[in-house]
Amino acid sequence: MESPSQSPGKLVVAHPDRRAQRALHRLVGATSCPVQIVADAAALRDAVDADTIAIVDATLAQAAPGLCDLAARAWIAVPGEGTAPADAPAVDALLAAGWWHVVAHAMPILGEELLATIQKLRRDDVFGLEKYVAWGAEVRSYTLGDAREREDAVATMARDVVGVGLPDRIASLVSVIADELIANALYVAPLDEHKQRYRAGEGRELGRELRGRDVVTVRWATDARYLAIEVRDRWGTLEPRGVAARLVAGKASAASGEAGMGMALAYACCNQFVVDLEPEVMTEVIALLDVRHKPTELGRSASFHTFVAAPAAPSAEES
């Protein structure tokens, strides 16, 4: 019997509480990857190597924010204690410190989110909203043929979201998220040979045919647990290092009504924000809204993840 292609390596769970260690062990054990459990930062430093995915208690991570600079496959911060979600200042602090993966929500969301995150990393298979919704969920797709179709695409999505029985509140959030992410793909992603974002100042009322690298695709699906919105551009120019910190900085911009708040606004409107990148090929942003729980049962901040795909290996003909 074959198992999916996965690279070697191990998972290290770092949590001071024995009960939490057991719960996390069971969760990540579902990946069939070797799991090592440690209780403190010193033991964690000793256990981690370049092939390790480290799952770290958020309190421990906050006490040693530089951990994520150590060589490892990935560093994932998870809520600190029991069933409580991570508090907003803790999430902001970890994002500002450069953590690429911060889970904000407690169980059962933690379990679903952690498993998807680890498997995306282990399988180096990062793209697609299908990883976040149940298999039976129908995926709807829109490809923009012109920059002026943004408003229509967003309005169609919002109407379809209400059509599947979700409340107006969710449709409003979908509208804001999709609008900001599509605008980012249309006007911020394109980069010229001088590394200038040459579309940033383009008039938003202007038409522009979208072909080749300018094509923007929007997809969404819901399985009554999550509603996932995915926006892809073909530029892959988002700088992964520091994108989390920029979201936190964007909140400050939002607080004063300044520029640079678009991505931060999309992040603020969702429950999980995922950036998938293949440099110079594609950027995909997935925003997940939890439609199962009341907002007050979730973390005040959204979870955040950045994934960078390894460049595709050249084909036999190319090599």
Binding site: E151, P167, D168, R169, S172, S175, V176, D179, E180, A183, R204, E205, K251, A254, A255, S256, G257, E258, A259, M261, G262, L265, A268, K294, P295, T296, R300
Partner: protein, 159 residues
Amino acid sequence: MTGFRTGRLDVRVSGARATLVGRIDDVAQLAGIATLLPAGDVVLDLAGVSFINSIGMREWVRLIRVLRDRGTVTLAAVSDVLIVQLNMIAEFRGSVQIASFHAGYVCPACGREATLLIDAVGHAAALRAMVAPRLPCPECGAAMDLADFPERYFGIFQP
């Protein structure tokens, strides 16, 4: 009554009251509202604002700064989408008057979700205390719960 259309936003001005209906987005130019309104205290009726994005919010902030320099700005029937974003902007705290606003509620009895109008003057003490006014479900009459964290709607009422 006078007015204009900018992008997908209709603006009607009557005396010191302006009514906005539609989208405040990349193409909405709001400076004309300040031109049509008289100097002094003004009221903006915002029940019809159906969408605002980050660029629209920058335009909105510029408008409010201009109007605020000329008198008291009162926001009436602020739509759900707008009040949530106003709560993200620190400078609005205490700098504009909010007469009423819409907020998302959910009924624990029948599951109905609805956007209800809250009288911010009548419930001022509760809003300052971050307590959601209990409002009846339009479908079954049971007391509804606020559908989100109180600070997302009421932060703007904090001193």
